[in-house]
């Protein structure tokens, strides 16, 4: 009796959120799948129709798609790896801070809470080849003779990755800090009694117990990095071989008004992210099983 009452109450409480998500969310998601099978173009609304999988066939032969997929992949792999390494280092450095913890946590949170557009604007000023702080400092300490064109063709991807690493490493560091705090102190005491060195302790205790936290951080970051849009849009506009899939989709959808093809690319991007997440989860699970 009570049980039935409880499920009914639960249903009532869940209905508003579910209804909202289904009306507003399921509609765009499903319409992407439907639109991806049509050649709907807002510039030529008369000539629309069902074209089967031909958008996906076009995708396979689209050099720009493959180029941008490669660039998105490079961006994701390099920036997430750097963020993981730096985030781990920062978490280890900041672990067990007692005095000044609030100040330190606040300062490392700052880059992460900044609007991405602000971070990008800030970095385009810092990296400006004529008036940027970076070139000024490099010149003053005598490391460079001529100003470096950070956002030019050769270094644009490096600069974009640098800005992303600055902005999102704090997220990784905070997740890993929580991980370090969850490791019982007794494990370290036991290791010390056994005479284990620092490196051995790190490899035998810290790293294995941190693995689930590393998995979550990498998964979240990889999914976000693969969809990156605003940072690159503001820094380079996608020029100098920094265009990612999201920017290409934006171009197709909103410059060329090619809804059919743009939707097909969205579906492809979703599929890639979905498979990538599954792969990452599987990999993490396999590597955390005892050998």
């Amino acid at each position: 009796m009570i049980r039935r009452h409880e499920t009914r109450l639960a249903l009532w409480l869940l209905t508003p959120a579910l209804a909202f998500v289904i009306v507003l969310g399921a509609f765009p998601v499903c319409s992407q799948f439907v639109l991806s099978l049509t050649d709907l173009n807002l510039k030529f609304p008369a000539e629309q129709g069902f074209v089967g999988l031909s958008n996906f066939a076009r995708l396979l032969g689209d050099d720009a798609f493959w180029r941008d997929l490669g660039q998105t992949f490079t961006f994701t792999v390099v920036s997430v790896s750097l963020e993981l390494l730096l985030g781990l280092a920062i978490a280890l450095i900041l672990n067990n801070v007692i005095r000044g913890r609030t100040a330190m946590n606040s300062s490392i949170l700052m880059p992460w809470v900044l609007p991405t557009v602000v971070a990008a604007t800030m970095w385009s000023l810092l990296l400006n080849d004529r008036i940027g702080l970076v070139n000024s400092v490099l010149g003053r300490i005598g490391l460079t003779d001529a100003p470096i064109v950070w956002l030019g063709p050769r270094l644009a991807m490096t600069s974009v990755i640098l800005a992303d690493v600055w902005k999102t490493t704090p997220f990784v560091a905070i997740i890993l800090l929580a991980g370090l705090k969850s490791i019982p102190r007794q494990y370290y005491e036991a290791a010390e009694i056994d005479g284990a060195g620092r490196w051995a302790t790190f490899r035998a205790i810290t790293l294995p117990l941190l693995k689930p936290f590393i998995a979550v951080a990498v998964l979240f970051r990889a999914m976000d990095a693969f969809r990156i849009f605003d940072l690159i849009w503001v820094l380079t506009g996608g020029a100098s071989r920094t265009e990612t899939l999201s920017i290409y989709i934006y171009r197709v959808l909103f410059r060329y008004s090619d809804l059919g093809y743009g939707s097909a690319m969205t579906v492809a991007l979703f599929a890639i992210i979905f498979l990538m997440s599954l792969g990452l989860i599987r990999f993490m699970r396999l590597s955390s099983e005892p050998r």
């Binding site: 049980r3 409880e6 499920t7 109450l9 639960a10 409480l13 869940l14 959120a17 909202f20 998500v21 507003l24 969310g25 765009p28 998601v29 639109l35 450095i93 900041l94 609030t102 330190m104 946590n105 490392i108 949170l109 700052m110 880059p111 809470v113 609007p115 991405t116 557009v117 602000v118 604007t121 800030m122 000023l125 810092l126 008036i131 702080l133 000024s136 010149g139 600055w166 997220f171 905070i174 997740i175 929580a178 969850s182 936290f213 999914m223 969809r227 849009f229 605003d230 503001v234 999201s246 989709i249 959808l253 909103f254 939707s263 579906v267 991007l269 979703f270 992210i273 979905f274 997440s277």
Partner: protein, 275 residues
């Protein structure tokens, strides 16, 4: 003993380096915003505003519709936070503490939504908003933002509700509350910290969002701060010093939130992974 001492000094140096890496770029923007436009073109550069001036901030508030953009951002972020919590907290309560049929299907729905590329939702949502004549108006941003922040809010709140002791509702029911009253009068007040955590994260997300704001607004007076800022910089219609001042104005609210709720934000970010 001496080695230990050296180790400690090195550790504090490393900590200082981390803090500096985070704060120096921010300092630079503040410096430029307080300097004259000409100061930026000096070689070598001044690393302090000499002389400091507030002219750039005055210029920002004269230019375009920037005060209006700030107001828009506040309204949109606040309404999003409110709507997300109103929809999300009952749902999270049900998921955390009540028997729900097909719980996994419901969770999977929210999760799938969280990984779908936002860029793909914009087109259909744009068409829907255009049909409803909502483009350039607050709902065109509040509704999609609520959609995007619901999964995170439900996730955090579910974690939070499940940490409360299980006997709370029973006690309330014995005292003659209805189940709904038990949720509203007993559980919600006790969950203030969890609600605050989610509210801060939702507000920051909505304040910072760019892609939807770029597409759902087309007039200067309907833009939010990030879009206004990106268009300032993109069009090069303003000197860098003015752009820097606009940047400083646009980050003040989020920096204030960090200063006030630093611990809550960390809690929210890590609530899903702890255990």
């Amino acid at each position: 003993m001496r080695r230990l001492r050296h180790g400690r000094i090195l550790l504090w140096l490393a900590r200082a380096l981390v803090v500096a890496a985070c704060l120096v770029p921010l300092y630079w923007i503040l410096n430029v915003s307080l300097s004259t436009s000409q100061a930026l073109y000096k070689t070598p550069l001044d690393y302090f505003p000499r002389p400091p001036t507030l002219e750039n901030f005055r210029a920002v508030f004269r230019v375009n519709q920037f005060p209006r953009n700030v107001l828009n951002s506040f309204v949109v972020a606040s309404l999003t936070t409110l709507l997300t919590l109103v929809l999300g907290s009952p749902a999270a309560y049900a998921l955390a503490r009540l028997r729900v049929r097909r719980k996994n299907v419901i969770l999977a729905t929210f999760l799938g939504l969280a990984i779908f590329p936002a860029i793909g939702m914009i087109g259909p949502l744009y068409i829907a908003m255009a049909r409803l004549a909502l483009i350039n108006r607050y709902p065109a941003l509040v509704l999609p933002y609520t959609l995007l922040s619901l999964p995170l809010a439900i996730w955090i709140l579910t974690q939070f509700f499940s940490t409360l002791p299980g006997s709370l509702e029973d006690a309330a029911l014995v005292d003659g509350c209805t189940p709904v009253q038990a949720f509203v009068r007993v559980i919600l007040p006790l969950s203030a910290p969890g609600l605050a955590t989610s509210a801060v994260l939702i507000f920051i997300f909505a304040w910072n969002e760019f892609l939807f704001a770029l597409i759902m607004t087309s007039t200067p007076e309907s833009r939010t701060v990030p879009v206004a800022l990106a268009l300032f910089a993109g069009l090069h219609e303003l000197p860098w010093a003015t752009i820097a001042a606009a940047t400083v104005v646009s980050v003040l609210p989020v920096l204030a939130l960090v200063a006030l709720f630093q611990r809550r934000i960390v809690e929210g970010l890590t609530s899903g992974v702890e255990r």
